[in-house]
């Protein structure tokens, strides 16, 4: 049995990272040139890592499945990025951000990692500013901040509703600079389909060229996965439709433990599903809850137009249930409350699966101009997609799958349980516990890529300087390539009648219904059985027209859906195992008399890291006990 060792440095929390950096092993510049690093993914974490490793002098190979690195899904983050600059003089500090993240994550994250993420947040903002990211500024020429996600300080830096885009394009520009200098080689339109391990160390990957269909071998001294999350497991989510966990999953099957797979954040304010063909749910930034009021009619099945329903017949259920935080409760709480109302029959819209987000009062108080300045682009987006004009009628919103706190288990070095395989950004599990706070995803991804990984990977590579460039003629590459080809051929040879997307939709429905916003043992067990049946159907009735040596988008989808069946199975196992409610994971069996989530710290204060033991064999659970030294574990109440 592999024993989990998080390798957290000794010493007081605030000094761990400083001490680590001071004592980490280094690689001299002449040797760096001889070392190859593969980075998969070009989001904030991936492109950040690739460019900073390139600056250090390593030879980096950077991969993405999109046509250009600038399209990685970090681009879609709207709200902002946190940093503890305390420019507002409102009492912010590294410790305060650390504390907010630990509490927001419902005490299921690792103290040392979270503290480090908060610690490097200021460097991230400085670096972005230096790279020309046009953050919002005030009239004095200084950076502006806003408050975000129900915290008590204003520490969120933003660029209108497009912070992710601006940060990503900044990162893309630093990546371009390294490409121009020859330290980074870019491989776009490549999908990683296998990990290659030689003598127990990660030494490369197998990719498919999505244009020619060619299966390619790429070797390196270490591999970094920055491949994002698996939110599209619900099919409909706020993610890009091609986002997928396949790379991480291949790594998992090669020995990397997968941690807390059931921790998946459901974002409360997305545009609801309008039709059965819908391919994605568009997020409406959380910032809307600063001024919008969420409500449903007090009467069931009220068919009146929203504006015809008088004030006393409206149920502002968040304000009613959580008077202290009101509409600004954290995401998981807001999502569950919406689901509760809709399940009880008070939902609005064609499907009854929506609640109102109303700006009537805000417009009355502040005027349409002020509201437009704050949310103009979001209102316009809503109008384009739904035809509803939010200046006149309330928006319809409903929760949607958004962000995965779970991911590959990593130690303090951000290394997985396979030596030489690192995981950064959303693809790892470490910083957000059971629930992520707003504006901390960009922060963590950038921190990992720019400021943490370069130190920890050097510490690892320092022991590898004598290893010459890895040849791709090794038997291990041969075998990996063979297994990839066999699997692709198996997929195209099924020759059934149903499309990959139709399976994905059905898979998503099962997961949304039984392993979504609220879960119970019976449902999870049922889901497990349904998943098994659907998986069997997939492997006997899938259809992929066109061949392997060409652009074949159906083949791409099918490969990802095939992996999703396995991810889903593990997710359900993890949800079954964790009989407590915590953060985004809500087990109906574990609730307070008022219906709030009830944590079980005695039995579940651990990270569940799952080991793959073989096809159709049960996953093996490893527990990393969580110790809280610097915060007091408390009930998370927003009443």
């Amino acid at each position: 049995m592999t024993k989990l060792d998080a390798k957290i440095p000794e010493g007081p929390l605030a000094e761990k990272w400083t001490k680590y950096k001071a004592s980490a092993k280094l690689v001299n510049p002449a040797n760096k040139k001889k070392l190859d690093v593969i980075v998969v993914g070009t989001g904030l974490a991936g492109a950040g890592a690739a460019s900073s490793l390139g600056e250090l002098g390593y030879q980096v190979k950077n991969f993405c499945f999109q046509d250009t690195p600038r399209r990685a899904h970090s681009v879609a983050a709207q709200g902002g990025i946190n940093a503890t600059k305390n420019y507002k003089n409102d009492g912010d500090s590294i410790y305060r951000l650390f504390y907010d993240m630990i509490k927001g994550g419902d005490y299921r994250s690792r103290e040392a990692n979270v503290y480090r993420a908060a610690e490097v947040s200021n460097d991230v903002i400085d670096h972005f500013t230096a790279m020309g990211v046009p953050f919002a500024r005030d009239y004095g020429g200084n950076l502006d901040n806003r408050s975000f996600g129900g915290v008590q300080v204003s520490r969120t830096f933003y660029a209108k509703g497009q912070t992710g885009q601006q940060c990503l394009l900044g990162t893309y520009s630093s990546l371009n600079r390294q490409i121009s200098q020859g330290t980074v080689t870019m491989y776009p339109r490549r999908e990683m389909l296998e990990l290659v391990i030689i003598n127990g160390k990660t030494r490369g990957i197998i990719t498919r060229n999505l244009i020619t269909g060619e299966i390619e071998r790429h070797s390196a001294h270490a591999v970094v996965l920055a491949t994002g999350g698996y939110g599209t497991i619900y099919y409909l989510s706020t993610l890009a439709v091609n986002s997928n966990p396949s790379a991480a999953w291949k790594a998992h099957k090669k020995g990397a433990f997968f941690a807390n797979p059931s921790f998946i954040q459901i974002h409360p304010t997305s545009i609801p599903q309008l039709n059965e063909y819908q391919s994605k749910l568009t997020l409406m930034s959380e910032s809307l809850r600063n001024d919008g009021r969420i409500w449903v009619p007090k009467k069931k099945d009220d068919k009146r137009v929203a504006n015809d329903i008088p004030e006393d017949e409206r149920d502002y259920y968040l304000e009613r249930r959580y008077p202290a935080f009101g509409n600004l409760v954290p995401r998981d709480v807001a999502s569950r409350a919406a689901k509760e109302r809709c399940d009880a029959g008070y939902g609005v819209g064609k499907t009854g699966l929506a609640v109102y987000l109303d700006f009537r009062d805000a417009i009355k108080k502040q005027g349409e101009k002020a509201i437009e300045a704050k949310y103009g682009n979001l209102f316009e987006l809503c109008r384009i997609i739904t035809g509803i004009n939010p200046y006149k009628d309330p928006m319809h919103i409903y929760p949607a799958g958004h962000y995965t706190m779970g991911g590959l288990w990593v130690d303090y070095n951000l290394m997985t349980t396979i030596p030489g395989l690192f995981s950064i950004g959303e693809s790892n599990f470490s910083d957000h516990g059971a629930n992520r706070l707003g504006a901390s995803a960009l922060m963590q991804a950038s921190g990992d890529g720019y400021f943490i990984l370069p130190y920890t990977i050097s510490n690892y590579l320092a022991d590898d300087i004598k290893t010459p460039r890895i040849s791709t003629d090794n038997q291990e590459f041969e075998d990996a390539e063979k297994s990839v080809k066999e699997r692709l051929e198996k997929l195209v040879s099924i020759n059934g009648t149903q499309t990959a997307t139709s399976f994905h939709k059905r898979l998503g429905e099962i997961m949304w219904n039984y392993c979504g916003m609220s879960r119970n043992e019976e449902g999870l067990k049922k889901a497990k059985q349904m998943l098994k049946e659907l998986k069997d159907e997939f492997w006997t009735d899938l259809i992929i027209p066109s061949d392997l040596n060409d652009v074949n988008q159906e083949l791409e989808k099918a490969g990802r859906v095939a992996d999703y069946f396995e991810v889903a199975d593990l997710m359900v196992d993890d949800a079954l195992n964790r009989t407590e409610s915590c953060g985004a994971h809500y087990r109906e069996e574990s609730q307070t008399p008022e219906g709030e989530a009830l944590r079980d710290d005695k039995n579940f204060s651990y990270v569940a890291a799952w080991e793959y033991t073989g096809e159709l064999k049960p996953y093996k659970l490893h527990k990393e006990e969580l110790k809280f030294v610097d915060v007091e574990v408390k009930e998370r109440s927003y009443k």
């Binding site: 046509d67 790279m131 046009p134 091609n242 987006l381 060409d550």
Partner: protein
């Protein structure tokens, strides 16, 4: 909705393409254009016909992956939207819709409606960045930036690199794209340091890649999903002249 779709089909970069007509009656007004294509592709797949290949990803108008030339407009009719945001409400029952890939020498067709836009990356690699290493940044407030300029830089920076400007331009010019990046970095004090080299390097690369010349027709601005202004092109010109006479 019943539609007649005339779609450009081309097996790969070397193949000769042609328009293929599809009669499709499975569209509904609350679909997006891409969802309509998804539905049509499902029908094709079930008939064991190679589905229409097109680039797409975020489907919320920010990644810049999608892009088709629909009835004479990049991203179709409708102002300031990407193809993924184009709603079928814009069309009527019985409409004939022409769907073509971006056409430009610098954007060769890869397959069907997918084109190769790496030329854009190459222009950015030529100089679309500020040379600052990780760890070397001063505090963000060390250099204040006039709000007006910061806002203007942001307006230029929202470009999503979709290529609609090139597709719309009768000359297949990339000036709007290039000028947006030049402007963003030229407006910020951090970017001024390298402004002279940057504008020359990027313009030279743009020329080398076979984009056409700008003749100020304004089609790019009219079709840009992010409403990037022609003011940027004028700024690029200015930057270029000043760089040349230095």
């Amino acid at each position: 909705m019943k539609l007649t779709l005339k779609i450009w089909r081309q097996k790969n970069a070397d193949a000769k393409g042609k328009f293929v007509t599809y009669d499709f009656d499975g569209a509904s007004p609350d679909m997006s254009f891409l969802e309509m294509l998804d539905a049509m592709n499902t029908k094709l797949i079930k008939a064991r016909i190679d589905p229409v290949a097109f680039d797409h990803d975020c489907r919320e108008g920010i990644c810049g992956a999608c892009g088709m030339y629909i009835n004479g407009h990049p991203h179709g009719p409708g102002k300031a939207i990407t193809t993924c945001h184009l709603s079928m409400r814009e069309f009527k029952d019985g409409d004939t819709i022409y769907v073509e890939p971006w056409r430009a020498k610098a954007f060769p067709v890869v397959k069907d409606l997918i084109v190769d836009r790496t030329a854009f990356d190459k222009i950015q690699i030529a100089g679309g960045f500020i040379s600052t290493n990780v760890g070397s940044a001063p505090d963000s407030h060390a250099i204040p930036v006039e709000k007006r300029k910061a806002d203007e830089a942001f307006d230029s920076a929202v470009c999503i690199g979709c290529g609609a400007c090139v597709a719309a331009c009768k000359n297949a010019s990339a000036m709007l794209f290039v000028s947006a990046k030049i402007s963003q970095l030229a407006l910020l004090p951090q970017g001024r340091i390298e402004a002279t080299e940057r504008v020359q390097a990027m313009v030279n690369k743009m020329d080398e890649l076979g984009f056409g010349n700008c003749s100020n027709t304004g089609a790019c601005e009219a079709e840009c999903p992010k409403e990037i202004s022609l003011v940027n092109i004028a700024r690029l010109n200015r930057e270029f002249y000043f760089a040349k006479i230095q």
